[in-house]
């Protein structure tokens, strides 16, 4: 039975990979239209304000690592950081990325360096714009709480692996400006729903790459998720009927 589920899961992964490839390659000319999401409008406003008024954005990547279950959240945070940094690198105060884990902080430094290079502003790049501010969930939250007041931050963007402690970061950020936040953890999402100005609920976190136009594959994977979601809904309904009829 386990082997059947293994092959089934591999089949779903294969289907999703095929759809991402297909949407990325086939629909090059047509840009898909997605529903309106206020958090990303707010993010665009914050990026613009950061450049015009010379204020700083804080991208909180959480305390997750790349080898743990919440690696996807860190990867999404890094992808969003690349767009935020590209737009914000010309600001007097470029975006600051914080993490509670070494590998993610190193990747954040790399993402920031590439963004500065693309904007031909390499001389303004400071490696400490990508930093570890505390190790572990509690250590990271404590460090991130002090980032907003210490670094003159006017917008806090929480995109990464964080639990309920995300509320501490959001609350501190809210005293200085806007807070946009999304995380994988359900408790973390609840905490952000209460504390953030623009919470990202459920898989909305994974839509950030498509809305920020990181690359074509992000839009393709969002379309793929929508299709597979309908398949999952169908499967749940069929299984519920089958179970109710006592056939399984």
């Amino acid at each position: 039975m386990d082997a059947i589920f293994g092959w089934l899961a591999l089949g779903v992964a294969g289907l999703m990979a095929g759809l991402i490839l297909a949407f990325s390659l086939v629909r090059r000319s047509a840009r898909p239209t997605f529903r309106h999401m206020p958090p990303f409008d707010a993010l665009a406003v914050d990026i613009g304000r950061s450049v015009e008024a010379g204020t700083r954005l804080h991208v909180a990547l959480g305390s997750g690592s790349l080898t743990s279950n919440d690696a996807a959240a860190s990867l999404i945070g890094l992808a969003a950081l690349s767009q935020i940094a590209t737009a914000g690198s010309v600001s007097d105060k470029p975006p600051l990325a914080t993490s509670g884990e070494g590998t993610v902080a190193l990747l954040a430094q790399d993402v920031l360096r590439v963004a500065f290079r693309q904007q031909r502003a390499e001389d303004r790049y400071d490696p400490l714009l990508g930093r570890v501010i505390g190790v572990g969930a509690a250590g990271y939250a404590t460090g991130a709480m002090h980032t907003a007041p210490d670094e003159d931050v006017t917008a806090t963007i929480i995109l990464g692996a964080a639990g309920a402690e995300a509320a501490l970061i959001a609350e501190s950020g809210a005293r200085r400006g806007t807070v946009i936040g999304g995380t994988l953890d359900v408790q973390g999402q609840t905490a952000l729903y209460v504390t953030a100005d623009h919470p990202l609920i459920g898989e909305e976190l994974f839509a950030s790459g498509a809305y920020l136009q990181v690359n074509r594959a992000h839009a393709a994977s969002l379309q793929t998720q929508d299709i597979v979601r309908w398949l999952v809904i169908g499967a749940i309904l069929v299984l519920a009927v089958v179970r109710t009829m006592g056939l399984l």
Binding site: I20, A72, I76, V111, V135, L168, S221
Partner: protein
């Protein structure tokens, strides 16, 4: 066409890990184990680099006499003290355990206490800040669950406990499962983008 070694390594590693996860067999299990151990080793080295980065940030803060640099001095002293104790006596020694149980753990518990207070205050503020149907449902649910959980003085309302149990076991679980399913799809798509070489969160 320039083929990057980092992209090939990422795609190969990811594919083997994925196959090893789904397909039973000794070969994949061994390769997966080796890769996981290597990943953990790299992660440990990166942790040291992260601590170095943390130190750099706070040393700069002290050097430039930025606001709150006194806290940075305290952090640097604590960092070296804990490091020295653990290196000299070992992580299982009474001194090392004392640092964790008597200093770190109480601090973390204190932080959780602060979190509870912040959530309560933020909740009250939310009522005035975001007046939507979602907020109303959120508060009604929180209110009923709290009412069904907390012991009430002088009166007993067993139906409240039943209502609380129903909320926690039916709509809350259903909602959480829906969210987790969506997250699983998103996480799979994110992983696949890395496997397909579209996302390269490494040297570009």
């Amino acid at each position: 066409m320039r083929i990057k070694v980092s992209v090939i390594v990422a795609i190969l590693t990811g594919t083997i890990m994925l196959l090893g996860y789904f397909i039973p067999g000794a070969f994949f299990a061994v390769v997966r184990d080796v890769m996981l151990r290597s990943g953990m080793l790299v992660g440990t080295v990166a942790l040291l680099l992260g601590v170095g980065n943390l130190l750099q940030v706070h040393l700069r803060k002290i050097r430039e006499q930025r606001p709150g640099h006194l806290y940075s001095i305290f952090l640097v002293i604590s960092l070296f003290t804990v490091f020295a104790v653990v290196v000299l006596f070992g992580p299982a020694h009474t001194y090392s355990v004392w640092i964790v149980s008597e200093i770190q753990r109480p601090l973390e518990i204190g932080l959780m206490g602060l979190l509870a207070t912040i959530l309560l205050l933020a909740g009250v503020r939310l009522l005035f800040r975001r007046q939507t149907l979602g907020t109303l449902i959120f508060f009604l649910t929180a209110f009923l669950v709290l009412l069904g959980t907390a012991p009430l003085p002088f009166i007993s309302l067993p139906f409240l406990e039943g209502l609380r149990n129903w909320i926690v076991q039916v709509p809350a679980v259903a909602g959480a499962r829906g969210i987790i399913l969506g997250i699983a799809l998103g996480a799979t798509a994110t992983g696949l983008r890395v496997l397909l070489g579209y996302d390269q969160p490494y040297e570009r």
